[in-house]
Every structure is written in C-alpha cells, then in structure tokens.
Subunit: 140 residues, 3 copies
Amino acid sequence: MRVHTDYLFFNTKKRQEFIRITDEIAAIVQKSRVADGMVLVSAMHITSGVYVNDWEEGLIDDFQKWLEKLAPSGLDYRHHQTGEDNADAHLKRTIMGHQVVLPITNGTLDLGPWEQVFYAEFDGRRKKRVVVKVMGTGEI
Amino acid sequence: MRVHTDYLFFNTKKRQEFIRITDEIAAIVQKSRVADGMVLVSAMHITSGVYVNDWEEGLIDDFQKWLEKLAPSGLDYRHHQTGEDNADAHLKRTIMGHQVVLPITNGTLDLGPWEQVFYAEFDGRRKKRVVVKVMGTGEI
Amino acid sequence: MRVHTDYLFFNTKKRQEFIRITDEIAAIVQKSRVADGMVLVSAMHITSGVYVNDWEEGLIDDFQKWLEKLAPSGLDYRHHQTGEDNADAHLKRTIMGHQVVLPITNGTLDLGPWEQVFYAEFDGRRKKRVVVKVMGTGEI
C-alpha cells in the first residue's frame, strides 16, 4: 500500500477566482505511483473550496453570480463583529464543497469526459493551501 | 489490501430522476470481498450527483421542488451561449453533492437505519456513469 | 495497512445544535495508530451533517440563520404527510454536507490553521451516531 502527500499553493490576484487544477492533481497521482486507489483533494482554508464541474467560462460566471445570490457579500453578518468581512466566503465555499475524492484506475485519474477539478477561492489575495493525499496499491 | 472498481450505468426516461442505488452498491461491496474499508461512489458526469438521504417519495419531491427554487431552470445563464440549456443541472447537482464515501464494516455497508444512497439525474435521457471504488482490507 | 472504526454519539438538548468534534476525531486517529492515511467522518442519520469550518460563535449563528433562509422550517412540505415535521432538517444537512474525509500525516490530522470539524444537528433531542473510519499505513 502506498500513501503520498502533496500540497498545492495559491495566492490569487482577485478576491474570488476559480482555478482549474486537474493537471496538477494528475501530476501528483503520477508521482505517487499509485496504480489503483483514491486521491483526496481538500482545501486547508475555510474560505475556499474544491469542486468538480465543467471547464467553461460562461458556467463559471453563472456559478459565481448564483453564489452571490444565495450567499450575498456585504450583509450585516454576526461574524463581522470579530473584524472579519468575509462571512459570505465561508457560506459560498460550503455550497461548492471543500473537498473531493477522485478515483485512480490504471495509474491515472478515473474521471468522466467533462469532469474537471477546480480550486474555488472566495477570499484570496493571500497564500492558501490545498492538501492532496493519494492512497492505494502500488505500481501497475 | 484490496481495491475493486466497478461502474453503474444510467439512462433515465425523464430529464430529472432520483434513483435509489443502495442495493447496487452493497452488491459491489460484496463482490469486492473488502471486509473493512470505504467505498467511493461518484458521478462521472457533471449534471448528476450522488447523495445519501431518505427513501421517501414525498421528501424526494420536496428536494426537487426546493432545488428548482434555489437553482431555477430556464434562466438566461451564460452557459447557454454555448448552445447548452442545462446550466441549472450543474447548479442543482452541486447542492446535492456529486459523490459520497461509505464506510464498510464486517464486509457490509455501515449505514444508519435510514441512510439510502441515491443517484440524482438532472439532465438525463442519455447514457451516464457512476464510478464505484472499493478499498480496504481483505476477507473477514 | 490499518483500518480502525469508531462511533461518536450525540443527544442534543436543542433541536438544532452545532458541536465541535475536532478533538474527538483527533483522539480516534491517535488510537488507530494510523500514521499516514485518511479518516472518514460521516453522520449516520439523515437530518444531521458533518462539516469543516470556523470555530466562531458569530459565524455559527450566521450559518444557522442562512440555512433557515435557504431551507425554511414550517413550510407545507410533502414529507410532512408521513407525520414527520423535519423536511427542512433533511434540506439543511444537504447544504452543510453529511460527511468529510480528513487527511492524516505523521499520525495526526493534517488540517489548516482554522479548520475545525463540526457535527451539525438539525433534528436533535434523541440519540444519534457518527461513524469514524480511519484507514492508512501503520505506525510512524
């Protein structure tokens, strides 16, 4: 049995930014030499998430507008009494999910044709991390 | 350590349909001969999901009406500029979740009394897949 | 390869209550003697959830008010025709998520500085369970 751990780092220019990370995850899976198993991809911060969906700019824009409607910024959240101003970021990342587990088969990510992995930043412009934990049986 | 991979196929008659798959997952777990571990059940398409909740027709109807309220179909989504008409399906599946990880104890799914696994289709009437990846220690 | 299973029990005084369980999960991970792997933490009931977010009372209050707005109690849900009155609890737990998978590195939970694990009860005042399944390679 093999277990391999890696981390991805982000420091987005914009407060909110969705970044495709499928290739980075695939590279870590290859490095792990796990042939058959799973990989956990999980945001280590509580105002960002990780999700699987379409790599299409229009849909990404739809997601962001939809999240703003469901969990608006700028409201009088109680969390802001601590000096923070990012309560909506905590809510938005909850809708999108903070982690995914991806199957590995024959040494590669076993994804459907349109599945792409994204890092969803809702309170960026500072250093953040995603943990990637690969687990499974050894070489093919 | 054992790893076993299987796939479930769906081709629903209706565009939106929730299908109970607990028994299918249990059968795959039995076939895997994993005694103690986990099973990942994950939609391979981005307009369907997998979730755990109650097997009660009224609640399933409540879920579907609620999702239509939170993520309405027929809006002028930017994703539709690509020729697609299913942006709401991407949003709805995000609310429900696209995957679950179920514990396996003593060779069977370790679920609570009311936990049932469902495949949630939001853009059906064509062939879709769910990947089932079982991982754990061998026979009991 | 090690697999260790444990259960947490809850019986909240209030119908809705969020309870921090990070320390309980950390103790189970330590007991498992898994050095490198993952732990699944999953609600076994369908009106409660498990999520990772901030340990800040204001934000917890924001979450609860937000969930009430997105999935109000007291509506005329079809599920209530069965005699139940908790349809909103099923919807709320769906937003929060019913499970998390946490990475284990060097024998401890590999969490970011603000990540805390919570049990989210939406229909309490009775005994409920969370399953904790640890899986990975043995001692450090």
